[in-house]
């Protein structure tokens, strides 16, 4: 099948489908008789064609993949830094005849991606093999000794993925791996032992004779030992940790039941009774360990922390080489004090320093939260994290990244003490009452039976109560519901890093939003024009005037005109800080800063021969999903707040557009004052995007990072929304609510089971068989309840 034939008829007048990503587009790009929606798709398609990999489309079609195929890489990245010796020393691990390098690949979404990336050796002869780990998005390349890594970087990027190099074989990674192995082995041992114990228990329940009952009992006991001594150790460790910090958690009753149950079973074995409970106990350990691993796996699937550690430093910069007398590309990691750097258009400044260029415009919103572009003159300070909006800038590095303002924020976020005001999870709260209830019931029962029936039956029935009320289902209730919800969230591109945040979100009523970049685009755009009709004949002239200026406001106006042809001027002038003007046929056209600010926070006048024709108002525009989100929140009795580093006028405007009370919007905030405001609220959700929110996010009960690309907020946040952030936040709120109901239903079911079990054992009806049936049945019903609830999640 020809790849091109995937596409049906092509007609320029109607919207057509992109050949690469199948996305419908009204502005197609035609190339060699093929249709694409964007240059990204076009580049990828021809990269595939050049590599002889057009089979990709068949693989993709065969796998039935239809979602999310648009490329991740938008900007061309310079990978030449990868060939620097410093870089190679740091990141390549050498083998005898070949070398290894690992990348975290951004943008892997389906099996066809694996196919494509593992085909790398066929387009690059220097790559010996490529192996990808789908679950953590890590690409492991075996390369030849003198492999040109720049080419490799470019090829991965051409295929539509974004490579982030990671250091392999670090100690921490090995430690994490061995910990995971030990968890798995614990589950394996518990599973094998409990399944064997079950065999002997069935024989006992079925009525094995006294001789065999004792034999099977001893065999079961021996098989239980590895489970309680080895597999169950995490429960003991957690219980001890909780007791040390004087709190209670679900692991305490579990550990208690395991120990008491084994001791009691052993005692019965010695005295010749057949009430052992070994089977139930080991199955309990097996189920609980498995469900916890399930939750952990679903967190890890969403995001691998290995990739995160190096994400921010993943960029290159041009450094002046005084020997070669030219700028060369280096990895930002290797910047040194006093280096002279060249910051290109739309690039981020990697370190604090001094501006060497005449005049530059920067977007400081990452650090200050201010949306208006900042003007920086020669010899003024530049800060890491600012984005260059104007022409190329030359700068001298004065501080290394670790010592820069941004670097300090990041280190505070990463190393600062955990100051979150966590909400106690429902399970832990209930287990506190649960423990109290079980103990008081057993005490009362013990003394009652001591008085009525004598010592032996009293001990037996009391212990039966404790064992039967073992909180198996209680322990399963939350993990199952959360694991399921997290899988659901991942499908929508929501990465949940902290499993307790889902429970917390559903209960918090105060939501704090950062303004720039979160609720608004962070870029200026035209919001209103006075006397628009009079302006329309001059759009081309306006386009041409602004074309010659590098001011960000000029870019915004230029974009708004939607023109593309240039007009020549006789006497073009740019008056810094005022605007531009030019002459055509003795008429002077000018665009000058206006003092008439009504809508928006900046205005520009269009003048013909000194006469104002029209005023163009500009503002940082709202994202389209902001209003629906805020309305949803207010409908569900949430209180929304705005925290912004911007001036009060801008903040007020955004607040009124979103129907947020003026009292709940805070302007001129510094990162620290944002954090203080958050601390004043007992429970809060902080939604933000930049470094100026990071400290506040760290303080909030739950923090949500919204951003189109990986960023610092991601490190500080509990939840990261990768696609359609604000729209998906509504989904997240609904999901959290459903998950909470699901947990509550599970808890109720397990409590009912316990109530029945305890009542029966008080009355003396509980036989070993009864206990053996009742305990797994309660876990089973919780599993079924969770599965039923999934249907509800699917509708959400």
């Amino acid at each position: 099948m020809e790849a091109g034939s995937l596409n049906t008829s092509i007609s320029p007048s109607e919207s057509v489908q992109c050949l690469h990503c199948n996305e419908k587009t009204d502005f197609p790009i035609y190339s060699e008789g093929k249709v694409f929606c964007c240059h990204g798709c076009q580049t990828i398609h021809f990269a595939l064609q050049a590599g002889g990999l057009l089979e990709y489309y068949q693989v993709r079609e065969r796998l039935g993949i239809s979602k999310n195929l648009t490329p991740t890489t938008k900007a061309k990245v310079d990978f030449s830094y990868m060939n620097e010796p410093q870089f190679k020393n740091e990141f390549i691990t050498s083998g005898e005849s070949s070398n290894h390098i690992k990348f975290y690949i951004e943008g892997i979404h389906c099996l066809a991606c694996i196919w494509l990336l593992e085909k790398l050796p066929s387009i690059n002869g220097e790559v010996i093999s490529a192996r990808i780990n789908f679950s953590n998005s890590i690409l492991d390349l075996t390369i030849k000794k003198n492999c040109n890594l720049e080419t490799v970087g470019n090829q991965i990027s051409d295929l539509g993925y974004r490579p982030h190099v990671i250091k392999s074989n670090s100690e921490a990674q090995k430690l994490q791996q061995s910990e995971e192995h030990s968890k798995l082995i614990k589950i394996g041992v518990a599973g094998a032992c409990s399944a064997n114990i079950m065999l002997y228990s069935i024989a006992i329940y079925a009525g094995a004779g006294v001789e065999f009952s004792a034999l099977f009992g001893w065999v079961s006991f021996i098989l239980t030992l590895p489970v309680i001594i080895y597999s169950a150790t995490p429960f003991y460790e957690n219980s001890l940790a909780a007791l040390k910090s004087r709190t209670l958690n679900i692991d305490i009753p579990i550990s208690f039941a395991i120990i008491i149950g084994t001791v009691f079973g052993f005692y019965n074995l010695l005295i010749g009774s057949s009430h052992y409970y070994f089977d139930s106990l080991s199955i309990l350990v097996f189920l609980l360990l498995s469900s916890r691993l399930l939750v952990q796996k679903s967190i890890q699937k969403g995001l691998n922390s290995d990739g995160l550690a190096t994400l921010f430093e993943q960029s290159s910069v041009k450094r002046w080489n005084s020997i070669k007398k030219e700028y060369e590309s280096i990895h930002t990691k290797f910047i040194q004090l006093g280096d002279q750097l060249l910051i290109e258009e739309a690039k981020t400044i990697p370190s604090d320093g001094i501006n060497l260029s005449e005049l530059s415009y920067l977007n400081n919103s990452l650090i200050t939260g201010e949306s208006r572009p900042a003007k920086v003159s020669k010899d003024e300070n530049l800060f890491a994290g600012s984005v260059n909006l104007g022409d190329k800038i030359e700068m001298r590095v004065e501080k290394l990244f670790e010592d820069s303002t941004l670097g300090k924020i990041i280190s505070e976020v990463e190393q600062g003490p955990e100051t979150k005001q966590r909400i106690q999870s429902v399970t832990d709260k209930i287990s506190r009452y649960f423990i109290a209830a079980v103990f008081s019931t057993s005490f009362m029962a013990f003394f009652y039976f001591l008085y009525t029936l004598g010592v032996d039956p009293a001990i037996e029935r009391t212990l039966a109560i404790i064992i039967v009320s073992c909180p198996c289902a209680l322990g399963l209730a939350a993990p199952l519901a959360i694991a399921r919800a997290m899988n659901k969230a991942r499908e929508k591109g929501i990465i949940i890093k902290n499993d307790s945040s889902l429970e917390d979100i559903a209960r918090i009523k105060d939501v704090f939003f950062d303004k720039t970049g979160t609720l608004t685009d962070g870029n200026f755009s035209v919001v209103a024009v006075t006397n628009e009709a009079a302006l329309s004949p001059f759009l081309e002239i306006i386009y041409s005037l602004e074309e010659r200026s590098n001011h960000p406001i000029a870019h915004a106006i230029q974009k708004w005109t939607k023109k593309s042809s240039l007009v020549d001027f006789l006497d073009f002038q740019e008056i810094p800080g005022r605007g531009v003007s030019g002459k055509i046929n003795d008429m002077t056209y000018s665009l000058l800063k206006s003092s008439n600010i009504r809508e928006g926070n900046t205005a520009v006048d269009f003048l013909i021969d000194e006469e104002i024709i029209s005023t163009i108002h500009l503002s940082d525009s709202l994202k389209k999903d902001s209003l629906p989100l805020i309305s949803y929140l207010s409908n569900t009795a949430h209180k929304s707040h705005i925290l912004s580093g911007d001036n009060s006028q801008t903040v007020k405007q955004v607040a009124s557009a979103l129907n947020i009370e003026e009292a709940n919007s805070y302007s001129n905030q510094t990162p620290e004052s944002k954090a203080d405001l958050i601390s004043q609220h007992k429970q809060s959700i902080m939604v933000g995007d930049g470094a100026n929110d990071a400290i506040a996010m760290k303080k909030a009960t739950v923090s949500i990072a919204v951003s189109g690309a990986m960023d610092i907020g991601l490190r500080a946040s509990d939840i990261y929304l990768t696609q359609d952030p604000l729209k998906n936040m509504i989904f997240l709120m609904k999901l959290a609510k459903l998950t909470n109901t699901s947990i509550k239903i599970n808890l109720i079911i397990s409590l009912i089971y316990n109530l029945i079990g305890v009542t029966l054992s008080i009355l003396g009806f509980i036989s070993p068989l009864g206990a053996a049936i009742l305990m797994p049945l309660s876990s089973l019903s919780v599993v079924i309840a969770t599965l039923v609830k999934i249907k509800g999640l699917e509708r959400a």
Partner: protein, 59 residues
């Protein structure tokens, strides 16, 4: 029923053998990545058109 005294240790030995095998496999990293090998098997070098069913199953 005396045979039980032989069979039970035998059964336990067999069980221990498999647990040891499981531990060995885990330590060797056989369970580190469960998703990719399952996917990789359908992405063979030569694409066979009649293989559609296999592909669907693994998606």
């Amino acid at each position: 029923m005396n045979i039980l005294y032989v069979l039970i240790p035998l059964a336990l030995l067999l069980g221990i053998f498999f647990v040891v095998a499981f531990i060995w496999a885990t330590k060797k990293g056989q369970f580190d990545d469960l998703d990719t090998p399952a996917a990789r098997i359908v992405l063979d070098d030569e694409y066979r058109i009649n293989d559609k069913q296999e592909g669907k199953k693994n998606e």
